[in-house]
């Protein structure tokens, strides 16, 4: 008899015990991929058609020829080949210039708000994915991490499964050092680098991202398995040498998403994947060929169940006057509502009730419309 303990320690998916999961008949799957470290939305879905983009990014501005054009205004980073194919197949949509309610620039506070769904950092102990579980009777979730991170924490128990080398999002000491250095102009960026490098070193040692995609698909494919999964990605804090690092990060993300799609097979048509980060990065390049902490960024919604092939944005532009505090992409839409709408529509839940449960401070954004096939 295999119990949960062994699942936590176990190494191969074939040992996942079927008896573990309560019987649910839900067809839909929901995956949340968190990009820890503030992923640069501007170089992921690149506003190559915005005349200010090349000016602001200067030496590190991406050459449009290396990108995947999606229209007059936006192009996709060249590393996102599979995502580009999903977009062409109308299985990927992008919400640009979105942000959580958080308006400062601390990773840990920003991630805390993104995951808790609260209006202020460290205001609550449970996360919006766990509250989503409470709306789905007899459903389960799996965290691809050594311990459930905040988004998944709450009254409903969740499964954790850690492929070796995945970052431990719960490393309290590292988080506290980050807070300790928050006001130190020299140590704080260095510490950010250290955490990124740590993530990257971990990534080099761990199973490749495709293996994590496959593993997640394996959990989600079980007929009586979890319907919600959360995947950790780290290393997005590109203060230096952004082009090379972001290329590597996005390549890994693309492999992960591609493997998820391939291994879910027909189930991909009932799957919704949301990729989001705590905040964006500065619109302009900094002095070390990177970018610093910013505000609005990008959210991706992908999957066979997505009404894709669209970019949803009230594009604020990148002129000096259009930037938030004259430095960051200005948020024109709430990330909360994207997350709440995607989740509610995925599981065909009441949008109002879901938004209130997941993000109590948010309001339903009717202009967002239908993201998911109903």
């Amino acid at each position: 008899m295999i119990d949960r303990r062994q699942l936590l320690l176990g190494s191969a998916l074939i040992f996942v015990p079927r008896l573990l999961f309560a019987k649910v008949e839900m067809k839909r799957r929901f995956v949340f991929i968190i990009q820890r470290g503030a992923a640069d939305g501007l170089d992921t879905l690149v506003p190559t058609g915005d005349p200010d983009y090349a000016r602001l990014r200067g030496a590190i501005a991406l050459d449009p020829a290396t990108t995947i054009p999606l229209g007059d205004l936006f192009s996709l980073h060249g590393a996102l080949q599979r995502v580009g194919q999903m977009y062409q197949a109308k299985q990927a949509l992008f919400c640009h210039a979105v942000a959580s309610p958080y308006r400062d620039r601390s990773h840990f506070d920003g991630q805390n708000i993104l995951e808790s769904g609260a209006m202020a950092p460290f205001a609550r102990e449970d996360g919006w994915l766990n509250r989503l579980l409470t709306l789905l009777p007899a459903s389960r979730a799996v965290a691809l991490a050594p311990s459930a991170s905040l988004a998944l924490r709450g009254p409903v128990p969740v499964i954790t499964y850690a492929p070796s080398g995945l970052p431990d999002a719960g490393d309290d000491m590292l988080m506290r050092v980050d807070q300790l250095y928050a006001e130190d102009a020299i140590l704080h960026p260095l510490w950010g680098e250290a955490l990124s490098a740590r993530g990257m070193t971990g990534a080099a040692k761990q199973q490749d991202p495709a293996a994590i995609g496959k593993l997640t698909a394996g959990f989600l494919a079980l007929s009586d398995g979890p319907r919600i999964a959360m995947i950790e990605t780290v290393g997005w804090d590109t203060h230096t040498a952004q082009n090379a690092r972001l290329d590597r990060q996005l390549t890994q993300l693309d492999h992960l998403l591609g493997a998820l799609m391939d291994n879910l097979g027909p189930l991909w048509n009932d799957t919704v994947v949301v990729v989001a980060t705590e905040f964006g990065r500065t619109a302009a390049v900094n002095g070390t060929r990177g970018t610093d902490h910013g505000t609005a960024s990008l959210a991706m919604v992908l999957g066979g169940a997505v009404q894709g092939g669209r970019v949803i944005t009230d594009w604020p532009g990148l002129s000096i006057g259009a930037l938030y505090q004259s430095r960051d992409l200005k948020p024109t839409r709430a990330l909360d509502t994207v997350l709440a709408s995607a989740a509610a529509q995925c599981f065909r839940l009441d949008p109002q009730k879901t938004a209130l449960a997941l993000f109590p401070g948010s309001t339903v954004d009717k202009t967002l419309g239908q993201l998911i096939v109903s």
Partner: protein
Amino acid sequence: MIQPAIALNRFGLGARPGDRVTGEPQRWLMAQCDRFEPKPKAWAGIRDLSTSILENHEVQVAIKASKIKDEVNRAKSLKARADLAQSVYWTTTDSRLVSALTTSAPFVERLVHFWANHFAVSVEKGGVNLTAGLMERDAIRAHVLGRFEDMLVAVEQHPAMLDFLDQNVSLGPHSPAAQAASRNGKERGLNENLAREIMELHTLGVRSGYTQTDVTEFARALTGWNTAGREDHAADGMTAAPGDFRFRPRSHEPGVRTILGRRYEQVDQHQALAVLQDLAHHPATATLIATKLVRHFVADDPPAAVVARVASAFRNSRGDLPSTYAALVAAPEAWVTALPKFKTPWDWIVSALRGLDRVDSDGLNVQAILYQLGQPIWKPGSPAGYADTAADWAGPDALLRRVEEARRLATLSGAGTDPRQLLDELLPGIASTFTHTAIARASSLPQGIALLLVAPEFMRR
């Protein structure tokens, strides 16, 4: 009042719980000159060099003898040599640490570390394992409150330096020893390493006006400076013990030397001694020493005005070191509230252990910790010693390693100490309310201690 905290942390080696600065901080620092112990208990039990050399010699003989015949004995002898080197390294690095933890004159002790790094030798060269600690004790500690000239001579004549910078193998090309070698078909001659580094690193400083010809001439003058070995016991009627400085007339390049426009007509070892004395009193030397001292105590980018004052104290006192330190301590620029210096790994670990009230190294493995943190004792990558600016030490990986080490030290130190109290004890008036709050919010006492040890105000001095 922040000045006592500056005296303890910037000038000293970091406060210990209960440390108090009595009276005026400047006076308190200089008063340490009266109680500094050149050979404290921590350094007393070190075996002398002749014992090490004789023991090493026996091992070497055994290695040679076993070369052809006996693989097992050869391996045993090689291991014995490595064990000896390591055991001496461990004992002497331990002496250095315990001395730093227990000293009643931490300002002077810091100056010892400063000078040892100025006159850097590295145990990367195997034999230096046996001598580096003794050089610190007998050449640096003995003269840290004396005259620069005396420290300079003691260092350059020390077996550690003569070995590290290849002086032992340098021969005057026209010396009797070289002539004899030539007759036997061996070409042996000058090695400029020590001469160059004395001019570039120990005295004048790079690009201060000396030429390649000056270096070569100085190297010729230095020929014959050597270390007595086992065989010197009886030879030539010398009474030198193995490891003592030994002048070998047969290796010395005969003739008059001209260096920096001055003629040196002295004979034998007196020639290089006269050069060293002139170098010690050269104005460029005063500027180099002052620049390095000010960089160590005031700022990575040393303010020219302070350098000028310290250099002039050095010159006016003919290289009297306490007079030079006094000018440094008197500089208002050295007492600014901002913490200008990012601690080197050595600084950091010593201050952490002092802060945690340690007086010994039991169970710590400090040598390995310093390897981890990137600054193994007496093992800099070059004769220039370890760098002394934040850019060289404050890096992402270095921070991670300090955080890991802080966690370990905090766990070792037990849960008895309240980090909030300790913070007030160690950094009175220095730690920000922000740091106070972050430490006060720690989830456990050891975590709070670990956070204290990596707090921005503890990473700097």
